[in-house]
Symmetry: C2
Subunit: 884 residues, 2 copies
């Protein structure tokens, strides 16, 4: 017997259910679950993801039994609806929609009104007694079928439509008469034949087969691939296909279609929230072409349907115990639910909904914690417009995705990507966005559109990305071709600075100052739960007291990486640093270092004070010395003059310091070993600062870190130098400070020999930036030439500088921890690469038993949440599962 | 009871024996063994290496019981000799010599005639009835004691000696009268007081203690440390101290001293071979100050002693079953043996002795194999002077160490090192060498001295190093200060080219062409035994048919690494290569590659033919493309003109290709993945060459190797491309060629994920050059700034680019092999870094189960021998032991 590839739903019962997302996709499982719950869903069936996978395995051939099962299920639908697919009298029409395991809005293709032919059209007219409606459905179907199934340009059809509207003086599509549409269908079929080189198919089963294939094939369409790449979804899942009885929202004023959320997806407020477009099909809402009405408008126009919708949404939310995103259609007053799924929401809404649902007893705290995507939290942490700033507000659109953004205006997605690659901040300004714009939206700081509502493509995608978005700002007169927009007498050209506030909808001319966000009460409550759940510590990478304070406010429990070289660059000391580098001997270096010492000491005092009571890990000098010297002859000459050193000498020394591969050069502890006086000065500055503060009752916890250790003898020698110097300072200052000496683990050799190294190091901090570079033989500075290609072609699953390469680099981390603790049981272990703020990487850090992660100040809350989720997943026995 | 720190020897019986080298040092164990064998050895005692170690542990204090044991053993010697230490009538005099486990010629300090004071001098005069001898002994003792024990400048004493000789018109030291010496002793004692700021010690026990301390301390003298570093001997062994009754070779013409070998150390000929200096102390021979007589001269002058010496040497050689180095002294006709140890020998001698001793039944083949140092074999493989070359021979010295060398003349060791660092080849020209010159000798291509014999410092050390050396070339008038020498009317200044032939003793003006050496019959016999013993294959790294042939003659069993980029650089094709690089698109690149293909094909044909029947591993393009472009604007402009490309475009493309860290950049398979057409062309060239030869019945075994793989997807993609292209070519050429597809393992990530990679690779070749760079984060090109310091300060035990870092890089190799074979049992594994020719590293490769090593052609025999020794050591259950 053939495998079961098709699951029926209809008549109050479904073969599938809401748990079967892997097999039926999110949409199919939702339809089955709703059917089983007694919610009105148009009957139909779901072709499984397994069928899709088989289809690709067989190079586009259906697996055995699939088509038979499709035919059998079609019969069941026909029977239930008392209609017949392809019947010239009572034709059954269907929609064909994709539906993968994970919701991918706008990514997959949908075909409506399938089954319409010249023959069945007659039946539709006689059944509905509405010629205009029938021709409208037909012309829509031809357009969708031609563009989505046959892959020709949709715009050619739209052009004919526009011409017709012009010809008859229609403003909206709905102003066209039946005769107009009849004529249009004729033109469409002619155009179809011209473009596809075949007549429009007259066999509904042929239409169905081609449509199913198109859904399958769209799984590997560029748009879908891009979305999956951005969201870390596997290519191997496949999509299901949902074939459902068509219901029509475009059958007159007692019909319509809408999209709604069981709570406000932007604020999280507990109110039914949605948009409704009378006399329209679903595509009209999502595409954002006409601005819809609020769903409440139904209360007056169609109270019965409205009341049923109210009952259904509550039933569904209680059932799913989560905020849901619903699609519905009202056909001549009767309500049909077309889809339900967990609704996308802003971070603010996610927090509020999670907290409210705990209060309502719908979910527990742990579930609440799992409900918020750590990456999304970033939204809350985005800077806002400085309340004191003077603003040149020129327009107001919909507050579609919160946060403020500043950037230069660009008018196409490719331009957005191009400018961003050059390091420019841009705001993508579009009439409306479409899935082709995903890349550009990703590259932009924020998105501004002239058309579309809160559930338009731009708004949904921006919220998902955590990007500020102002949508549907109708005042904007955008000329995408000539690259400018006009608004209320102002003209903004490509490259001009603008600011948008996605929380208010304001559009502002110019570059506005942004400020750090204020944390809401919800945020504090939620993060308290988070901290209760997590076991992994979260520190920050901070080089200044200011950064340290920001991070501490965000909940950082210490500094995991304080880089001392940034201090060397400051204007008042770079001169002494250069003098030190240019000295021929130790004596000269010591003389220069003496000048730097009091300045470094002051720096450390500031940081120790900002972090009072918390540990501060200070890394001794790491970069190669040539980084501190000027790079051009002109600068060198000026420096020579200023320092009273002959230019030639300076030039020679500069040349002699140059390196072919500075990443693998004379840096890190290699500096400390060849010029011990540099590290000695730094340790002296740290310990003098610590001792002097300790005397003033400030609780200081310095942890001195040796960078780039690869061999046990390096840490042995350097740890001895640190301890000798520290003891000497404490003896002189007559005070004891608890301090630790440890090392970065950032070379494969260090991980491999961690058992030896741990004998001399009290803590390890994995420097996964450099460890990634060395383990993979990949220069971060140079990889731009091929790394994007690698990620694009799936040679690497992720950019290893963003998400830790767990199989390779991660394996060395695991080995390093295990070996390190084999000789020092209580070894403290952390991470201080960029990965410390990446949720997937934080999960890994938890799983290998690190004590803490350290990340940039603004990512501290994200790391805290990721750590809590990792702990909870571990509790649930599922650490491998990624967030989402 | 105190530990036993002192071992007695004398009266035909010793407390120690020849096995106790660890405790008594080589010299002490040899003296004990000789004593036990009934060989005449002056009585004495050995202070153990343990005492030395304790001495350093206690910061220069003697361990409990040591001094008591010294005193007690001194009494035993006194009794046996019927003399008394410090006695004014019958004084016992002793020598104090160092003696570590490993022979370190000239490295350690010796004090003779110890026990002489103004008081005991009288006894020596009355006992010997030879005032001249006694004063000569006294002045020698003062000089040695002052310089070696008290560390003052020996030259100040020599100056007084020279002045005295001048004053009385003496040519040799021996021309000085007793009165002259008496006066000299007075002057010496005055000078001693002036330099040391204390009078010369009058207590013989004080002398003894200071001398023992000096021997101990010399263990950490710079010379000793340098020698140990060069020879990989641990600092932790310590040295023993040998205190022996003095016997005098300077008591007249029936006295003398000599050094001999039981076989010829230069040729290996089975004849007693040595040198003898009448009326002299040992230091006179070794220092090479006077040119000695052949030992056979004794046959006539002192036949009795000669006959006994003959009997003793045979007895000792039979006992030790190895060629020995003997030191003896004849005091008034009576022979004393002062030392025996395994003799250093040239590679040629080592081979001959090993083979002869097998024939003589003294040793078996396996022992013979272990007797030859693989590194030393290099000597035999050194190029010789081209027999057809016209030579400007200007002088002839002693053929002290075989092989020819060409270089620029330098006159001091530091200059030699300085020039060599700049990449210059130098010949170190010295009056005579001393231990201070070790570094310079190492840096030089060869050594030329004006004084000293075959056993002079220069000769012994050069042979140990395998460097050509011409010694004792008396015609040379060297002015070390002014940096030139004159010889037979020619003047050679610093930097002038000279050539020396260490096999003939010829000194030649100018730069002479050298040719590959001819292998001797011994070499062939020996290497046959070697090949029978080894299990590890030995291949070569060769990019040209010429290199391939050389290597094949040296026994290479295939090519382990054929780099294709060298072919890209050749003059007739670099233009097409540059055209390819500068193309904007694939089409342009393909056009240029089409021009390169026939040339590459020709290259491969040549190599396949040279290696007929043997496997040839070809690495696809590896270096970043910018390496092929010119580096200066001038060159770029010329190229632009030649190619008809605008300079600006060329310049821009050149700039865009530049990398911060090219080692970690766009190279290796990253090129193949981003520009598959390049690899496709190369595979096509390889397979077309292979197919066309196969049709002509040439047996070809191509192994195609993908470089810089770090991720399974890289090898998967590239292996597919290789296989598809190969199959296509074979189909077209209608012939099947057995080929393999494999990868370099040169990134830590590759080793860590070798199980995945092996699924797609039929062989692994460890590229340990790059693997060392990435694992240790160490750029080979830049490490010159600190690596020498690291090796010097013992941060690293060895230069990791010379000897594989077994703990770190080696561990990744081990992991890579184990993981690789876990998914592909019959995975072929080799190494193709420079380490493939380093004996210690070869031992490691054997131990981890590699199939082969691959090294440069001239190192193939070395690798073969090292592989055989590794196999034998494994058989003996001792793989950890390094080669000696």
């Amino acid at each position: 017997m053939a495998k079961k590839y098709v699951y029926f739903l209809g008549g109050g019962k479904a073969e599938g259910n809401g748990q079967m997302k892997d097999l039926l996709g999110g949409k199919g499982a939702g339809l089955a679950e709703m059917t089983n719950l007694g919610v009105p869903v148009p009957p139909g069936f779901t072709i499984t993801t397994e069928a899709c996978i088989e289809y690709f395995k067989n190079n586009g051939k259906y697996p055995a039994g699939l088509w038979d099962q499709v035919l059998k299920n079609m019969k069941k639908v026909e029977k239930l609806m008392n209609l017949k697919f392809g019947d010239p009298k009572r034709p059954l029409l269907v929609s064909v929609r994709s539906g993968a395991k994970f919701s991918m809005p706008g990514m997959m293709d949908t075909v409506l009104n399938l089954g319409l032919t010249d023959e069945t059209l007659k039946g539709l007219i006689s059944m509905t007694n509405n010629e205009r409606f029938a021709y409208d459905a037909y012309r829509r179907f031809i357009t969708m079928f031609a563009s989505i199934v046959m892959g020709v340009d949709r715009m050619e059809f739209e052009d004919l439509l526009e011409k017709m509207k012009e010809k008859v003086g229609a403003k909206y599509d709905s102003d066209l008469s039946a005769e107009d549409l009849k004529e249009l269908v004729k033109q469409y079929k002619k155009l179809y034949k011209k473009l596809v080189k075949k007549p429009f198919p007259n066999d509904p089963y042929e239409q169905l087969k081609l449509a199913i294939n198109a859904v399958f094939n769209s799984w590997f369409g560029e748009r879908a691939k891009t979305y999956r790449k951005l969201h870390g979804i596997s290519d191997d899942l496949g999509t299901a296909v949902n074939v459902c009885t068509m219901v029509f929202g475009n059958m007159g004023d007692n019909s319509g279609t809408g999209v709604a959320f069981t709570r406000d997806p932007s604020t999280g407020e507990n109110r039914f929230y949605g948009e409704y477009l009378p006399n329209a099909q679903g595509e009209d809402v999502v595409a954002g072409i006409r601005t819809p009405l609020p769903v409440d408008a139904l209360k007056d126009s169609l109270p019965e349907a409205y009341n049923e919708l109210m009952k259904i949404y509550k039933k569904l939310e209680n059932h799913y115990r989560d905020m849901l995103d619903l699609e519905f259609t009202i056909q001549e007053g009767k309500l049909y639910m077309l889809q339900t799924r967990v609704g996308k929401r802003t971070a603010k809404a996610a927090l509020k909904i999670a907290i409210d649902m705990v209060k309502e007893g719908l979910i527990d705290k742990e579930t609440a914690i799992m409900r918020v995507d750590p990456e999304q939290l970033d939204q809350l942490l985005h800077p806002m417009i400085d309340p004191k700033a003077k603003l040149k507000k020129v327009a107001k659109g919909l507050p579609a995705s919160p946060g403020a953004a500043v950037g230069r205006a660009v008018f196409t997605a490719p331009e957005a990507e191009k400018w961003a690659e050059k390091g420019e901040k841009v705001i993508l300004v579009r009439l409306e966005t479409s899935p082709e714009d995903i890349g550009g939206m990703h590259a932009a700081q924020g998105i501004l559109t002239a058309r579309g509502g809160m559930t338009s493509h731009a708004a949904v995608v921006a919220r998902g990305m955590g990007k500020p978005c102002v949508a549907g700002c109708g005042d904007l007169k955008i000329n995408e071709k000539k690259k400018f927009f006009e608004v209320n007498g102002e003209k903004v050209k490509e490259g001009d600075w603008i600011t948008i506030d996605g929380s208010t909808g304001d559009v502002i001319i110019g570059k506005v100052k942004l400020v750090a966000p204020q944390m809401t009460g919800d945020f504090e409550v939620f993060m308290k739960w988070v901290d209760e759940a997590r076991t992994l510590g979260v520190r920050t990478n901070a080089d200044t007291p200011k950064d340290a304070k920001v991070a501490r406010n965000f909940g950082a429990e210490g500094i995991g990486l304080c880089r001392t070289e940034h201090m060397f660059f400051e204007e008042d000391r770079i001169k002494a640093v250069r003098e030190m580098i240019l000295s021929d001997d130790e004596e000269g270096r010591r003389k220069a270092l003496k000048k730097i010492l009091p300045m470094q000491k002051k720096d450390f005092k500031g940081i120790f004070k900002a972090m009072e009571g918390l540990p501060v890990t200070i890394r001794l000098l790491d970069p190669p010395l040539h980084e501190f010297l000027p790079h051009t002859d002109k600068e060198l000459k000026e420096l020579a003059k200023e320092m009273g050193v002959p230019f030639k000498k300076l030039k020679e020394r500069n040349e002699s310091l140059k390196e072919f591969n500075p990443m693998l050069g004379h840096r890190g502890c290699r500096l400390g070993i060849t010029y011990p006086e540099i590290y000695e000065m730094q340790v002296r500055a740290i310990m003098e600062a610590a001792c002097e503060l300790k005397k003033k009752k400030v609780d200081v916890k310095p942890e001195i870190m040796i960078p780039l250790v690869g061999h046990v003898r390096e840490i042995e020698t350097m740890a001895e130098l640190v301890r000798n110097t520290a003891e000497e300072v404490m003896k002189k200052k007559k005070v004891k400070v608890d301090y630790m000496v440890g090392t970065m683990i950032e070379l494969p050799r260090a991980a491999i020999t961690a058992d030896q190294i741990a004998k001399h190091a009290e803590f390890f901090s994995f420097g996964t930036n450099d460890l990634t570079q060395t383990t993979m033989g990949l220069s971060r500075d140079d990889s731009g030439k091929f790394l994007p290609f690698y990620v694009d072609k799936k040679i690497f699953p992720d950019d290893p500088f963003v998400t830790l390469d767990i199989e390779g680099v991660g394996e060395l981390v695991r080995i390093g921890i295990q070996k390190g603790r084999s000789t020092r049981e209580n070894l403290k272990v952390g991470i201080c690469g960029e990965h410390g703020g990446d949720p997937k990487s934080v999960t890994f850090c938890h799983s290998v038993g690190m004590n803490y992660v350290s990340c940039s100040p603004y990512r501290v809350p994200i790391a805290r949440l990721a750590a809590a989720q990792a702990a909870l997943r571990e509790k649930m026995g599922d650490l491998s599962k990624s967030t989402v």
